[in-house]
């Protein structure tokens, strides 16, 4: 960075922010977790005590400054405290995805050389024990949930509350050490290390300093005027940078309360009970919610369905304009207000989004129809563009300038430039320090002036100055006739249909585009039930001719809409098939954040891809699958390949001048 920004009021580390919050508004809620059917609450002062006793316990256990502590669990206050306790003793927290298989975990554990791991339960302990032989550095494990662990050898296995208890018992022995270690922390010390899942290659450990996290949290909080009265629901993976920024960075900077759901299955109920004012979700969550709403409306009575359709049509027309404060006629406003009373309000409440003041989606492009659906309800859903290496924020959409096809203006303090090849570069206070033990990648990604390559292709729109991301730079290809091929754009259009869960479009250096499709088992299953179609498995449903007919009609609708877009009319899907299995992170077909890995997919299903282009109408295939516990099996199926009608387009002689 050109100008080293100075920490404000000595607030130069997360533990320092914790001290400030505990002193300044100690009796305000900092954490809530629903347990035993009740929202349990910890104030900032209480959280500070919990973290302090854990930190003392960690010193007592032998944690040194600079050690790495792996943290593996779902969103619970205990794990957030673990992160801050680790920082307080000068160690570096490394949150990992708790659903990762044992060998994936082994790689990162070995790479960072963690001496300690704080984990959720028996499942995680078992995974680590399974791979422990290869992990020479791992010394101690601390678990939160004791169930089933009683009989384990406890020489190097400790219960979380016992460590805290030991910490409290050894208070006078270590408190001075703890204070000294805490005071040594500066803006430059490492705050957290996060592994990027990466759509290609092995995960990389992104090292973020206190400066990165605090500056990014501070400026983004100011951008959206976040206060200490916000309520957030922490439900996204803790290993993901977004959760770290929202649930630790911004929460500690502003002093707002982080609410943890009771279990992953109760998330929707808990969301309703909390009614967050600041909400973040990846596009998939919004898609799923929308799918559920649509399914329930399909099942509802005629009158309700009619009312819903009518008012939603009105909302789509005027809702976004009202939200942006643009002029809208009196009658339209009145009708919208009525709709709000009878339809939009109750719907928002059901979704748990009734109080959302600022909502964000990121991680992947969101389908414009999905985005507009939420905007039209009056939910201030915005897009941001970011990545782990930037401590999330690269661009943000300011209130009133929200559109589904742009990702907004540069975040405060962030500079952006577009390279000659169209790739987006940025630098700013949130820019990561380096990749851990991977100098080569660091050099490749971040140049000597601090510019970081995003790997995405994009451009600034004339007039508005907003950034538009076209696609992953490496995904954007050329079709055989030289025209641009942007798979994600087409996939997102397909995925708007509730029946389509995932789509992978091919077309790079080909004459025409084709697609693999995953049906959404919830939506299609519901439809099947209503139409008396029996099925025993995903595979059987996916191969049903009537399901194929339905998917074909969706594909053809997408083709018609693509035909209207002069840039992408040649990307219409000519042939498609519905895959016999769901794409899954356990099989390596997706990342843990559920982005499709095109390379893996086109290699793994090479035979299917071949069949899409050789004109055959069906193909027999066998695929290896990995179960959740790591065992492997194989499934085989005969897949139908369908031709979809395309709208003829005149070949564009010359691309736009």
């Amino acid at each position: 960075m050109a100008q080293p920004s100075q920490a404000t009021d000595g607030m130069d580390s997360v533990p320092a922010l914790l001290q400030r919050n505990a002193t300044r508004f100690g009796d305000k809620p900092a954490y809530r977790e629903k347990e035993y059917g009740i929202w349990q609450c910890w104030t900032w002062a209480e959280a500070e005590k919990e973290i302090e006793s854990l930190a003392l316990g960690l010193i007592n256990l032998g944690v040194n400054e600079g050690d790495f502590i792996a943290i593996i669990g779902r969103n619970r206050p205990h794990f957030y405290w673990s992160m801050v306790a680790a920082q307080s003793v000068g160690a570096i927290p490394v949150p990992l995805y708790q659903d990762a298989a044992a060998d994936e975990m082994a790689y990162v554990m070995d790479h960072c050389g963690a001496r300690f791991a704080i984990v959720q339960d028996q499942e995680q302990v078992d995974k680590l024990i399974e791979v422990q032989e290869g992990l020479h550095q791992l010394e101690h494990m601390i678990y939160v949930d004791p169930r089933g662990l009683r009989k384990y050898d406890h020489h190097k296995l400790h219960r979380y509350i016992d460590i805290q208890e030991q910490g409290r018992a050894a208070y006078y022995e270590w408190i001075e050490d703890l204070k000294a270690r805490r005071e040594k922390l500066t803006y430059d010390s490492v705050c957290v290390m996060l592994y990027t899942s990466g759509t290609t290659g092995k995960p990389k450990g992104v090292v973020l300093s206190n400066r990165n996290i605090i500056e990014a949290s501070k400026s983004s909080s100011e951008f959206d005027k976040l206060t200490r009265d916000e309520e957030v629901l922490a439900y996204l993976p803790m290993a993901w940078v977004g959760d770290f920024i929202f649930s630790i960075g911004q929460a500690y900077w502003c002093g707002f309360c982080v609410n943890c759901p009771e279990s992953p299955e109760t998330m929707q109920t808990d969301l309703r009970e909390i009614g967050p004012t600041y909400y973040f979700a990846p596009p998939r969550v919004f898609e799923t919610q929308l799918t559920n709403v649509m399914i329930r409306m399909e099942d509802s009575g005629k009158l309700k369905k009619w009312l819903f359709d009518r008012f939603m049509a009105h909302a789509r027309r005027v809702g976004p304009a009202i939200l942006d404060g643009k002029p809208v006629g009196g009658m339209d406003r009145l009708k919208y207000a009525l709709g709000n009373l009878f339809i939009y309000g109750p719907l928002k409440d059901t979704l748990g989004l009734g109080r959302v003041r600022v909502g964000y989606t990121a991680g992947e492009a969101i389908g414009p129809e999905i985005f507009d659906f939420y905007r039209s309800l009056g939910i201030n859903l915005k897009q941001l563009y970011g990545q782990t290496e930037a401590s999330v924020f690269i661009t943000l959409q300011p209130d009133g300038e929200v559109r589904s096809d742009t990702v907004g203006v540069p975040a405060p303090g962030v500079e952006i430039r577009i390279s000659d090849t169209g790739e987006v570069f940025y630098r700013g206070p949130g820019t990561f320090e380096y990749y851990y033990k991977n100098e080569e990648s660091t050099k490749k990604t971040k140049d000597s002036e601090g510019w970081v390559a995003t790997g995405d292709a994009g451009f600034f729109e004339d007039g508005s100055g907003h950034l538009r991301i076209i696609d992953r730079a490496k995904d954007v290809g050329k079709m055989a006739d030289g025209q641009m091929f942007a798979p994600k754009y087409v996939e997102n259009k397909l995925k708007f249909y509730p029946n389509i869960l995932e789509a992978v479009v091919f077309g790079h250096q080909r004459e025409q585009c084709s697609a693999f499709i995953n049906i959404d088992l919830t939506a299609v299953g519901n439809w099947a039930e209503r139409n008396n179609i029996g099925y025993a498995s995903y595979q059987e449903l996916a191969g049903n001719p009537r399901v194929l007919d339905m998917i074909q009609s969706h594909v053809e609708e997408v083709n018609r809409s693509l035909a209207d877009d002069p840039m992408l009319s040649h990307c219409q899907v000519h042939r498609f098939l519905v895959l016999h299995k769901e794409l899954d992170a356990d099989d390596g077909e997706m990342t843990r954040t559920r982005k499709v890995r095109r390379g893996v997919i086109s290699e793994k299903f090479e035979d299917l891809l071949g069949a899409l282009y050789d004109g055959s109408s069906e193909i027999f295939t066998t695929t290896e699958v990995t179960y959740e516990d790591g065992r492997k099996g194989a499934i085989s199926a005969t897949l139908q390949i369908r031709d979809a009608a395309v709208v003829p387009v005149e070949t564009i002689k010359v691309a736009a001048e």
Binding site: E35, Y36, G37, I38, R147, G148, R150, E265, T266, T269
Partner: protein, 273 residues
């Protein structure tokens, strides 16, 4: 199992099994001319998982019903905690700390999961009708205390997401789990499970097995279960009683039972020549 003494034994995985808590002595149960159970004796030790297996019609459920006081055997004695048990009504047996689940789920379909599990606490509630009606003092206090116990069980069995769902809307596997929750809510010293895994798929069976082991491990509950699935039984139980046509044909550790010729014949059939 090698070092069995009157005071108990230690299992291979290091669990301490205590003294005999319940003993069936020469039980014979007849329905008219049909002999359902014929002269069967076995015991259940504190903290163990005891299985009763056998082919269809072997008399397993009848045996469980004898234990739970639903059937009264014509001959034989039931000894519980060192004393002979007089003829009792099922609710009196329940008051002694014996809870059960049923083969064909017996929940209140229209009530929520929470309310169903709360009914398992009936034994622990004593507030009078008036107090319940005006919802003051004892009734309110009792509800709070018992709700806490119930919530811990809901947490333990991981059914938080269906807490407020009417039982009638749940799939079969979950109903079975709710039934287990209700039985646990009574904080029983012996838990009787009648085919806890009947009609489940492999995944549900694995879940259920884990819950049964966890219950035994966490609360030290003695468990007697009837089960069809031999694989599950052999993995779960410490000792197994095998019944066929109302008679006991085997009794011992899973390994012993597996090698017992009478058991093999009963399960695989035997050539009549």
């Amino acid at each position: 199992m090698n070092d069995m003494t009157p005071d108990g034994y230690t299992t291979e995985d290091g669990r301490k099994i205590g003294a005999v808590v319940m003993e069936m002595r020469n039980i014979t149960l007849r329905f008219g001319g049909v002999v359902a159970i014929q002269d069967i004796s076995f015991d259940i030790r504190e903290g163990e998982i005891r299985a009763i297996i056998g082919p269809n019609g072997a008399g397993k459920s009848s045996m469980l019903n004898v234990i739970s006081g639903f059937y009264h055997p014509q001959e034989g004695e039931v000894w519980y905690k060192g004393a002979k048990r007089p003829t009792m009504k099922p609710y009196e047996v329940a008051q002694q700390g014996i809870a059960r689940t049923f083969q064909n789920i017996a929940l209140f379909e229209g009530m929520t999961v929470l309310d169903n599990v709360m009914t398992g606490r009936i034994r622990q509630m004593s507030a009078g009708l008036l107090s319940q009606a005006i919802w003051k003092g004892k009734a309110e206090r009792e509800e709070v205390e018992n709700r806490e116990v119930v919530e811990k069980i809901i947490d333990f069995l991981e059914i938080q997401h269906i807490r407020k769902t009417p039982v009638g809307r749940l799939p079969y596997g979950l109903k079975k789990r709710v039934e287990l929750a209700r039985a646990l809510a009574a904080e029983p010293s012996i838990l009787l499970l009648d085919e806890p895994m009947a009609g489940m798929n492999v995944e549900e069976k694995e879940d259920m097995s884990r819950f049964i082991l966890d219950v035994n491990d966490e609360f030290g509950t003695t468990i007697a279960l009837i089960e069809h699935d031999m694989g599950v039984v052999m993995d779960l139980s410490d000792r197994v009683v095998v019944m066929d046509y109302g008679k006991k044909i085997g009794d011992g550790s899973p390994d012993e039972v597996r090698q017992n010729q009478a058991v093999i014949d009963a399960y695989l059939g035997v050539a009549h020549d």
